[in-house]
């Protein structure tokens, strides 16, 4: 059972071809000279140039990055708090509702989340734009953050916190000095997830946004409706490359940090 057999090899090859071929084709043809997307007419980087010269793309990218950065950071703080509440606060009135509100946004159809947030902003008389998109993104990202951080807290060695308390730490300093460093890789991964979710979102942003705050997915969507264009291929390739490099780097870094932490955690437990 430790070697590949022909059946499993074929399945995996076909499966990964299905998952990756569309993206690879898109990236290859973003270097196509011709405007006709599926006819190869020689290598060219002209579509990349036109992406960088297109002011509306650059503006949208800037809006998207700012929304992503702010919403991911706030969502990480709120989501980590929510994860601690779920795992460390003990029972309290309304905990079932709280747990429900953490898990529900992840299975909620985006059109409903988008519509409901928009109607909230309208009835509160908020001007729709940059900040309403950011608020909407914080709300759905914080739930993902809460789940990712919770997963880490569940497998966390409680005795370390208790040892810190026995040694005279206040609860706050025990959290800062013991808990936080241990769950930090999970928090980092959660931030990255929140950032990518915000970067990707089209539906919720379309509802929550107003004039003057067009995000990159909204911009891409309006172009895609007209049809395939080599510029969109180039822009998509840039986004895919950025995200892929980010995710692979982050996962390598967190893996290393995780191995190191586990080792330290074990040493600490052994020395207690």
């Amino acid at each position: 059972m430790t070697r590949f057999n022909w059946f499993n090899t074929t399945t995996l090859t076909l499966g990964f071809a299905f998952l990756y071929l569309p993206i690879i084709l898109l990236m290859i043809y973003s270097f196509n000279e011709s405007r006709l997307v599926t006819v190869w007419a020689g290598f060219s980087t002209r579509w990349y140039q036109s992406v960088f010269l297109n002011e509306s793309f650059i503006n949208a990218a800037w809006v998207t990055l700012r929304v992503g950065f702010i919403s991911a950071s706030v969502a990480t703080v709120l989501g980590t708090m929510a994860a601690l509440v779920l795992n460390r606060a003990g029972p309290f009135h309304g905990k079932t509702l709280f747990t429900g509100m953490i898990y529900a946004p992840m299975v909620m159809p985006e059109v409903i989340t988008g519509l409901s947030l928009l109607l909230l902003f309208v009835s509160l008389d908020f001007a729709r734009g940059f900040w309403t998109v950011t608020l909407a993104h914080i709300t759905f990202s914080m739930c993902y953050v809460a789940v990712v951080v919770s997963t880490r807290l569940v497998t966390f060695e409680r005795s370390l916190e208790e040892a810190a308390l026995d040694l005279g730490c206040t609860r706050f300093s025990a959290f800062i000095q013991v808990t936080l460093p241990i769950i930090f890789p999970a928090i980092l991964a959660a931030w990255l997830l929140a950032f990518t979710l915000s970067l990707d979102d089209l539906v919720i942003a379309s509802f929550a946004s107003g004039p003057g705050a067009t995000t990159l997915p909204m911009k891409i969507y309006s172009q895609v409706r007209i049809g395939v264009s080599p510029e969109i291929n180039a822009l998509s390739s840039i986004l895919i490359a950025v995200v892929a490099i980010g995710v692979v780097t982050a996962s390598l870094v967190t893996k290393q940090a995780h191995v190191k932490r586990i080792k330290e955690e074990r040493m600490a437990i052994n020395s207690i």
Partner: protein, 318 residues
């Protein structure tokens, strides 16, 4: 809900390493709690309220509006104007019924297709050499991180009449005339299977990887053929993963907007798209809200079943 409603229980049941007690703890609980109440729960109450209102040509385009300064009397006056008119409208116009039904049909077929494709992949991953598994897992998750919109868009170039697929099939001589796939239901199925495959593979892989090999060895020792061993042992034991994967694909697929809009044809109506059109093109907010409420009701049952199944699995693993 006020902060006092979520106040802390008596001190003695608090866990030893829990959050600090007293006001600090209450505040700590209250911040994410209130955030979710305001930005998640309250919006649903508003959707419900507007679904009972009438559409008018004004800003905001619905009536009545609740004016907080009128207090309790204003609230009662608002209640009297509410009616189920929008829901009656939804029931009378076959467009809405058809979009609910076709959403259910498309989501069910796509879920089964995703299962049929995802199961062998998850199985092969679980049977792969140990040192390969982390890499394979990463390869399944990685596309999930790249933009959903871009991954759906990539299929236009493949499926359209002059696209890569037709080019390839014509070149190999399998077909003589280009296939019309883009703007059909087939394109939607492909789009959903492609986009949601990781959601199916991950829970399946999680159960298949934990499967006890000695059970299969015992079956083989007792004279079971590999196929029969799969049928009587592997498949039943992987059912929790099958359920989890199916729910994770089915629930978002029902309300899907991007895939039917970009890959589907004008004749395919799915409820997510109907809601979008009702809101952005027809600007009928009350009807859009009623569509949302009914969609939510439709998804409540699968969501509850999913949660029950997750709880059962969590208990079983403890």
């Amino acid at each position: 809900m006020a902060v006092t409603d979520i106040a802390s229980p008596p001190e003695e049941i608090q866990e030893p390493s829990g959050l600090s007690s007293g006001w600090g703890r209450r505040l700590f609980i209250a911040i994410p709690y209130i955030w979710l109440l305001v930005f998640f729960l309250a919006p649903f109450v508003i959707v419900l309220k507007i679904s009972l209102s009438d559409v008018i040509l004004a800003r905001p385009p619905y009536f009545p509006n609740f004016d907080i300064s009128e207090g309790w009397q204003g609230f009662l006056a608002m209640l009297r104007v509410f009616d189920l008119e929008n829901y009656v409208w939804l029931a009378e116009d076959s467009l809405y019924l058809n979009s609910y039904l076709s959403s259910l049909r498309i989501a069910s077929i796509s879920t089964l297709l995703t299962l049929a494709i995802g199961y062998p992949i998850a199985y092969a991953m679980a049977k792969a050499p140990k040192e390969w598994r982390a890499t394979l897992l990463m390869l399944v998750i990685l596309p999930f991180w790249t933009s959903f919109l871009i991954r759906v868009y990539a299929w236009i170039g493949i499926l359209k009449k002059e696209g890569f697929l037709n080019y390839f099939l014509l070149w190999t001589g399998i077909i003589d005339e280009p296939l019309m796939i883009l703007n059909t239901d087939t394109a939607i199925y492909i789009g959903i299977v492609y986009s949601y495959l990781p959601f199916m593979v991950l829970p399946l892989y999680a159960v298949l990887e934990k499967l006890n090999i000695s059970l299969l060895e015992a079956a083989t020792d007792l004279g079971c053929s590999p196929l029969k061993a799969f049928w009587v042992i592997t498949l039943p034991l992987s059912l929790p993963g099958v359920w989890a994967g199916c729910f994770l694909v089915f629930i978002p697929a029902v309300g899907e907007f991007v895939i039917p809009d970009i890959l589907g044809g004008s004749s395919t109506i799915m409820i997510g798209k109907t809601l979008w059109v009702e809101f952005f093109s027809n600007r009928d907010w009350p009807v859009a809200s009623a569509v949302a409420i009914l969609l939510l009701l439709m998804l409540t049952l699968p969501i509850i079943l999913f949660q029950k199944q997750q709880e059962k699995q969590a208990e079983a693993s403890q």
